[in-house]
Symmetry: C2
Subunit: 755 residues, 2 copies
């Protein structure tokens, strides 16, 4: 897997290996883009020669769109598969269908011709106690069901963690921090490979089914990116170019979000706002297309049987009142606080896992967390059901005929007019539900901190949404009852026009719909894409203003406490070289303060353009570990000619020694156009101009670091040379920049591990 | 107005004028951003000193949000004012309200307690013939009404063009091409000034009311940007920094679209995708906020009395069928073709206006076009009404009780079940409406070409939407009737399940809703923002897939014919220096091919760092017109030290001659840290290190132009120096780059007028 793209290069590149990258290195965006443009130019210029070349040129132009189509189809199908399997396996924890063990609860009851509302009474579906004991009543049956629930959960999570550990260690976590880093130009071979895809798909189903407090949204993005990366191998254009491949991955991420939330536009914006680094407008359109195809494929599979892309689709059509902004903003504040709290605790816990013995027992950790989750979850009906079912239930507006506990209001049918529900006092069922929801909230809040980061695939959105939806429902019902019992308060009398009796259902609807937005906002700090995702989920734009207000509040509160989102925090934890585009560099340092060599260091290792021998260069290569060397006119003048990469140099010299006659250790290497005048007795010379980068980026030593950081970010550089009055002084690499930023932020500069 | 920002600089800058720009020049983004960061650093470092400084620091941090709030409020209010006035004045062309001349038709009838459906029978509203003749029947009354309609239209447009010509020439057109250019860093003083704002607001109302085939959407963006620019003067942070001010303008553009379409998210995306150049994530959030406030303000004003932000809000809730994609794609193709045709014809006409005598009679031109439009429009009821009313009528789904001509179906009440309408044969009214709509389509298509670009404010969206909506309705009814008469065709039998009788209303709904999307897509080539705007307009996400498919088709078709959108075409027509970020530079030229001096030119004009006298420098300034000069160590070594701007140099020398003792023509100017050793008899020297840019951007002569173009685009450079082996060779300015691009595209390089 790892070597495929490297091996394919052997066929056409002038020298094998030149122009490829090592694992855990950063790509050179400028070089990659130049190479693609060269390729493109060659194809277009050739296309005038023959019909075949013309067809090749057209197919090349359309290969991008074809690739998007394939990604959309594959990502959509996988998402459908995951949804169906997870649904079935979640139900398996509670019982089995006699009509066929492959039916899930709903499907089973539907098969046996009972209606949905009688779900609990359907005949073909047997809970484990009914199956084993023959009845479902009594304490013993309850304990048996409890036991089976925990056992299945443990079984699923054990299988998941063993698969991840054994076959694809990269399949754990949400994958979004790594994908962000990869999109910014880092190389992690195998992270988006076929094993990761297979294992992540399987273990995601297992992890979701085990009832752990995690969601499938983040991992679905990872799965979609794996699809994108693997499908890239079908097209030379994308297989051989790291920059082009990253454009495809950006689009794949959009497709992933599109199927995860059923939100194609939100997916494109998520890719733009959160994960992508280089996002030209062309990619915007392609992402758009991929997201569209993926959503369409998923809709055709129809995993939830409701013609929707998600289980928890809601519709709002009631207008809102200005005062409703207050609970929205309150929820925003809560969301921001929870987000900041979650990020801090989770990062602290993950750091502990990394640095202490804890990290050595991932399987045990998963089993313990699963056991605790399952033991706590079963007694409470709101945690026993799957998290997306919970969200779906919380989003439900209470209709007049609704029989669920949450809707057990004291009905006064006389005052009902049409569809509008009057104000109603809450019945005992609502109070019980409130208690259970409060407990579920506390449990979710804490258990999620320990779950995110374990060695199983785990997404954050669904737990965040659940926390938000619970908090929203609690607040909603509280305000509703407050308004019911205190009609006369000035605040409420302004709200509901005299005589109107339907203020509360609207408010209930509001507060249900938004909070997941807030929480995800607090945790990941995306705003625009988040609101768009919410619109696509709620299918209505009535609540645009309150939703936006809530999302902004949440972001502000979370930002005030800590500036990093959860993904950035995890990137930093892992030491990946990610140059954040959101934070402005605000210190007054200059390029000369950051460049190597420092004053106390030995002088910069340089290569002269026409006076060093093969042996000299090999000595430099062996004695240093730099990934590239500047080439100068002469040691005296220090005038910069170009830059040569270590990897290219090694490969070229090795190749020349093997295949070129007369190249010995004393052969002079020259990078100029013409060979230097040397005595005729000297051995034949080695011309290496082809591997010399003649347009290295340079800045002067007086350039403020803020500009240097900007250049690194916007152009995607790996290194930049520093000059003073035309003379070469030193070099700044991406790692130097990141270390400098870490140092100025009072963080450990050695936490940056890769270049 | 023009000098305000320059004059304010006098107070704090070390030297007056240094660091400002001349009119019709491009700003230096890097320098502006650096200056802002310096300012920010100073405030934060001072904030630890005193409470007052701390408050200043906090207020500085929040000034951006406050500014957004103000922009949102002002833009929303102006949009409301424009909507209300335009509505009233449009109705004034047909008659007047007796209850008070300031009521519009609808308002008047509402006042006189008649219902909306009886609009034509309401008593208080008098058409001109009723008012003058006392009755509204007969040929003479018709001719009188016709006459008054044309007279009012001519009066409005005459007033509009005279106001534009007399007070604010910049107020004409849509303004979006210029705003794009300004946002990319160009300076056009007064373009966003208070006179432009006032005149544009007034003339926009007049132009819309005159019945010309134009819309208010583009000009509203211009109005919002004027608001943004004017409000910037309240805050030093934005008043004094051109880069920061452009961030605000990006957000203002979003607010403009937000109120124009009632689409806050679409507005943000429009700003991102279409108009903005530098769009950091911080701006994304602020734009979001401004758009939100603007929409909220407009909603509070409620100009249409329907609690919506637009007149033509539609809702779709029916699921769609796969086959419906066919008409959508057909409309997409039509949209693309129309877009390409429109752009070509409009640009050809505008070029003719610029180059022939035609351009000298703007008032006459406006009057002639208005007269033709009014004369053609009055007899056809679909063109007589305002374009937004037309769109609103076309979007209306035919209910069972709908009395309009478009809905005159042969009703078979027996087969009606609930709300679903059965298939129905079209009645004579529908056929008449179809003919009238077809004529309206032809008229709109042609008259818009001549209207866009005249000396009145004119937007393109509404006419495009109208063309699309008419085409959509025509196609919709055609397919509907085809399906009605040919139930048995294989294609339809797959579509409507046997026995179901409600395929057509759904289809009708589909085809009504989308076409404006397509057409705007073909004309302006925005895709994602377009689809989002459509969602916000249609208030439903059911049709996401067909809308996206239509928008993509439209874009592809239009792209295949001509790559430029209408705004880019107008930018090129005006010769503005706009470096398009969407088009990839695909030629294999090098920096040395583009740089000045060329081989035949005199050598590069340079300044040495410590050996030229004031007189030498003044000679250079007088003999050349370059906007800046490279500073080198010495003429012999040609090693680059920095870059100095002509404007700064002139101001500094003038200032020194006036205020500094002993500065004469023979005084030596030095840019080094320490003064050069000179004989004691020489006059006192002038140190100008403070105006020297010590970190000019350099590239080597071998750098491919694609990389140079990328650097110019991403970093927002004005110029870049070219070196070879550390020696200065030449210079590339933004104008050189644009000329080079124009030349390679076989366009006239001299069409680029500004730097």
């Amino acid at each position: 897997m790892n070597g495929t793209s490297t091996m394919m290069d052997f066929l056409e590149e002038p020298l094998p290996g030149v122009g490829t990258y090592e694992d855990f290195n950063t790509i050179d965006w400028v070089r990659e883009k130049s190479r693609d443009r060269d390729r493109h130019r060659e194809i277009t210029s050739r296309s005038k020669e023959s019909t075949w070349a013309l067809i090749h040129s057209v197919s090349d132009a359309f290969s991008g769109w074809l690739l998007m189509l394939l990604i959309g189809l594959l990502a959509g199908s996988l998402a459908g598969l995951i949804d169906i399997s997870a649904h079935w396996m979640t139900d398996l924890k509670e019982g089995v269908c006699l009509a066929g063990f492959w039916f899930n609860h709903e499907h089973c009851c539907w098969k046996s011709h009972t209606t949905f509302t009688d779900r609990d009474q359907c005949l073909e579906w047997r809970s484990w106690s009914q199956l084993i004991l023959g009845h479902g009543e009594g304490a013993f049956a309850y304990i048996l069901n409890y036991f089976m629930y925990v056992i299945w959960a443990l079984l699923f999570s054990l299988l998941a963690v063993l698969l991840v550990k054994g076959f694809a260690p990269y399949a754990c976590g949400s994958g979004i921090p790594e994908i962000k880093t990869i999109l910014s130009g880092f190389i992690i071979r195998g992270y988006l490979g076929k094993w990761t895809l297979i294992i992540k798909t399987i273990t995601l189903v297992l992890a979701v089914s085990s009832g752990l407090s995690l969601g499938k949204e983040g991992p679905l993005v990872h799965v979609a990116c794996c699809c994108g990366n693997i499908l890239c191998h079908l097209f030379t254009k994308y297989r051989k170019n790291e920059a082009k491949r990253r454009e495809v991955l950006s689009a794949a991420a959009a497709a992933g979000v599109s199927v995860a939330f059923g939100a194609p536009i939100g997916g494109v914006l998520f890719s733009l706002e959160e994960v992508s680094y280089y996002f030209p407008l062309k990619t915007l359109w392609r992402s758009f297309f991929a997201a569209l195809v993926a959503a369409f494929t998923l809709r055709s599979i129809n995993p939830f049987g409701n013609s929707r892309l998600v289980l928890f689709y809601v519709e709002f059509h009631m207008p809102w009142h200005l005062l409703e902004l207050v609970p929205f903003i309150l929820l925003g504040i809560f969301g921001g606080l929870w987000g900041a709290f979650f990020i801090r605790s989770n990062i602290a816990w993950c750091r502990r896992r990394k640095t202490t013995k804890l990290g050595r027992y991932p399987v045990l950790e998963v089993l313990v967390v699963t056991a605790i989750t399952a033991l706590l979850a079963f007694p409470n009906e709101y945690t026993r059901m799957s998290t997306s079912e919970l969200i779906s239930e919380l989003f439900n507006d209470c209709g007049i005929l609704d029989s669920s506990k949450l809707c057990e209001y004291v009905n006064d049918f006389n005052s009902t007019k049409g569809d509008d529900l009057p104000d109603r006092a809450a019945g005992p069922g609502v109070y019980t539900a409130m208690w259970q929801l409060a407990l579920a909230l506390i449990m979710k809040v804490f258990i999620t901190i320990f779950t995110f980061g374990m060695k199983v695939p785990s997404g954050l959105f669904i737990p965040s949404m659940a926390v938000g939806a619970i908090a929203g429902r609690l607040l909603g019902v509280a305000v509703e009852q407050l308004a019911f019992y205190h009609h006369d308060w000035a605040i409420f009398s302004g709200w509901c026009s005299p005589g109107a009796d339907s203020i509360t259902p609207a408010l209930g609807g509001v507060v249900q719909g938004c909070p997941h937005a807030l929480l995800a906002g607090g945790v990941t700090r995306m705003t625009v894409s988040l609101v768009v995702i919410m619109f696509e989920l709620t299918g209505g734009l009535e609540y645009i203003v309150p939703l936006m207000a809530a999302a902004m509040t949440s972001k502000w509160v979370a930002d005030a406490i800590g500036r990093e989102g959860i993904y950035d925090a995890h990137i930093r934890l892992n030491g990946y070289p990610f140059l954040e585009a959101k934070e402005e560099f605000s210190h007054k340092t200059l390029a000369m303060d950051v460049m190597r060599p420092r004053r106390s260091d030995p002088p910069l290792t340089i290569i002269t353009q026409d006076s060093m021998t093969v042996e000299d260069v090999e000595t430099i290569i062996n004695e240093t570990t730099y990934s590239g060397y500047p080439v100068v006119v002469s040691r005296e003048s220090q005038r910069l000619v170009g830059f040569v990469l270590r990897r290219d140099l090694i490969i070229s010299i090795e190749n020349a020694r093997k295949k070129q006659d007369g190249i010995v250790s004393t052969s002079v290497i020259y990078f100029t156009d013409h060979s230097p005048p040397l005595p005729p007795s000297s051995p034949s010379m080695l011309k290496l101009r082809s591997i010399l980068d003649l347009s290295p980026f340079t800045v002067t030593d007086q350039t403020p670091m803020e500009i240097v950081v900007d250049i690194f970010r916007k152009l995607g550089l790996r290194q930049c040379l520093v000059t003073h009055n035309g003379k070469l002084l030193g070099i700044i690499t991406k790692k130097d920049v990141l270390k400098h930023i870490a140092q100025l932020a009072n963080q450990d500069p050695d936490s940056i591990l890769f270049n």
